[in-house]
Symmetry: C2
Subunit: 404 residues, 2 copies
Amino acid sequence: VDDAQARDAHDPLAGFRDQFVIGDPELAYLDGNSLGRLPKATAERIRRDIQAWGEDLIRGWDRGWMELPVTVGDLLGSAALGAGPGQVVVGDSTTVCFYKLAAAALDARPGRRRIIANADDFPTDRYVLESLATARDLEVVWLRFDPDAGPDASSIASALDDQTALVAVSHVAYRSAHIADMPAINQLAHAAGALTLWDLSHSAGALALALDADDCDLAVGCTYKYLNGGPGAPAYMYVRHEVQADIRQPIWGWLGRRDPFSMGPGYLPAEGPVALLSGTPPVLALGCVQEGVRLVAQAGIAAIREKGIRLTQYAIELIDRYLAPLGAAVGSPRDPLRRGAHVALRHPDAAALTVALRQRQVITDFREPDVVRLGLSPLTTRYIDVWRGIDALRETLSENVDQR
Amino acid sequence: VDDAQARDAHDPLAGFRDQFVIGDPELAYLDGNSLGRLPKATAERIRRDIQAWGEDLIRGWDRGWMELPVTVGDLLGSAALGAGPGQVVVGDSTTVCFYKLAAAALDARPGRRRIIANADDFPTDRYVLESLATARDLEVVWLRFDPDAGPDASSIASALDDQTALVAVSHVAYRSAHIADMPAINQLAHAAGALTLWDLSHSAGALALALDADDCDLAVGCTYKYLNGGPGAPAYMYVRHEVQADIRQPIWGWLGRRDPFSMGPGYLPAEGPVALLSGTPPVLALGCVQEGVRLVAQAGIAAIREKGIRLTQYAIELIDRYLAPLGAAVGSPRDPLRRGAHVALRHPDAAALTVALRQRQVITDFREPDVVRLGLSPLTTRYIDVWRGIDALRETLSENVDQR
């Protein structure tokens, strides 16, 4: 405990916790990678946006609402994605965004019949690729990796060929937190003539991404994890400037059209990333995302990443010391440069452990088949929370051992 | 003025206006069919939902959030759509919902190569059909009607053949307010072996719909017009029980899958309308929709429809008396049974008129090429608002005439 408290006392980001609503101060919330906490600024923002709806009514669309997908996208690009302006928009669910960009990538590589994906990626991505492959009679090459790892460049290299249209993988694996080698995989894919589509859901807001510098083609991600956008908040899409001319998303709607209010016949895509939009922007939700992203911008992604490494390193040290003797194991990379901001704890009773932890005021989540996932969102997680979580695990596991 | 005030005094729904936030009492807001007003209950609801996010955090998903698409869908079905439970879900934009159901309908009629649509329908619907037709090399048969009318059964009958997969039209035309004959068109389409997809954006919350009784197959609609769900609120999808087994939407995501938290390999659609979902439900937005729909349920759709007929009839009488001599004409059906809750005013200077009206505290909207649209949302529009709107039009048009 003393050690954790000392770490908190020296944490340069400690003050950011005060910018979030903290309901129960005793709660060790180790699930900010499923749903990030509520920023105080967001509660205030939504109050103002609701008021604007009530008073400005339809005029709100002329007072900034219409531009929100791009305004928030550009802010997100600079604060968290390493993406210059004019390449990111926010809107639609992660699933729909992933569908749009995956479909567009396949259309941009006609005749090529293969998609390379990770068999252990987050289910929605797998199902979307399956739906597209089924509809177009394509093949998904499902790569398999050790449970505590994720896509490596050499596996991707072995799978790539001149029939590969798309490499679609998560940057940080949702279970193991393994970080894929983004620049190397992009380079390999491009050498084979394929496009890359990255799911950044477990990366953005936790890691210093460099989509432009790393030569990414396409990316999507959710905003309700490390970006603290709220439950079911809209997702974002990134399309690199150089490939925008080749990318035409499949769901043509009025707000992706050039000159939408002419309401004219025939669809003509708008310039730039606006063409990725389909329907009317979800105004209130976009305001929430904007406030969450602002906090990331304010803290600085480098400082956030630094704390994420320290928090996960601390968790791993405690697991090794206290939980390994009780049958648990680290299921995440030990190299901090290959590890995101969560730690997978592997144990055969992981499901029951997750339930027992909640009774001890520690919130984590369970991932099939044997992982307790400890999400350590740097802006809101304290070292004392990590300590409490591991201590509760130690107590629970000790009781289990005693009962046998 | 006296007449309008007398009508307001005898309006059985007059009290409902108090359940909405009214910023400027002098404002004649005749655009509730673009963006409905803010219910007071919604402001309170979102405050509670934000608090639940802050305090319950991820546990909110076990406390009703996950079921919201269905809970709100069933409520909407009974309050406004004439749809029994288990057929409606809320989520995604209207454009994405329309895409999902149109694509699913085409998949359910393999080999058939034609879609029947209205060339004057709302652009997003037209563009979606164009995107699907382009991707699948199908033909859209674009029906054309008088500007103050919309699809009639005989035109549909002439266009239908054994190559028609889908008839996809709006129920209430967004410009003219013309109501299509839903049961007749469904019957004709079914006789030809085609499916029907209705856009209810300008119907739901204004008219007593009877999707079940009228034998509709599929329907979508937005919730930010007469349902007062807020700017960019999520849309809904209806799939009739009898066709659910044939309908498989194209965007396979984790929350449309059976047993989503197993996160297992391979997509298996969930039972019932849940299979229409793709990504994580937009929790805060769904709460707003629920509150808006509750007010419709409370007022009763029959009473709302009754007032909508009276308001539009009053507007038409005033237009005939005061504006027709000044060169304006009614561009909506005169038969109240064929007219939704807005009135199209046709005038060559419609765009400039709309701007001039705003300076007189009257909000309408302009629709290409010559329509000022007067939206008379029954729960919040007073007869005095109608009178003020027409009076402001009379003044503006008189000045214009004087200046010539």
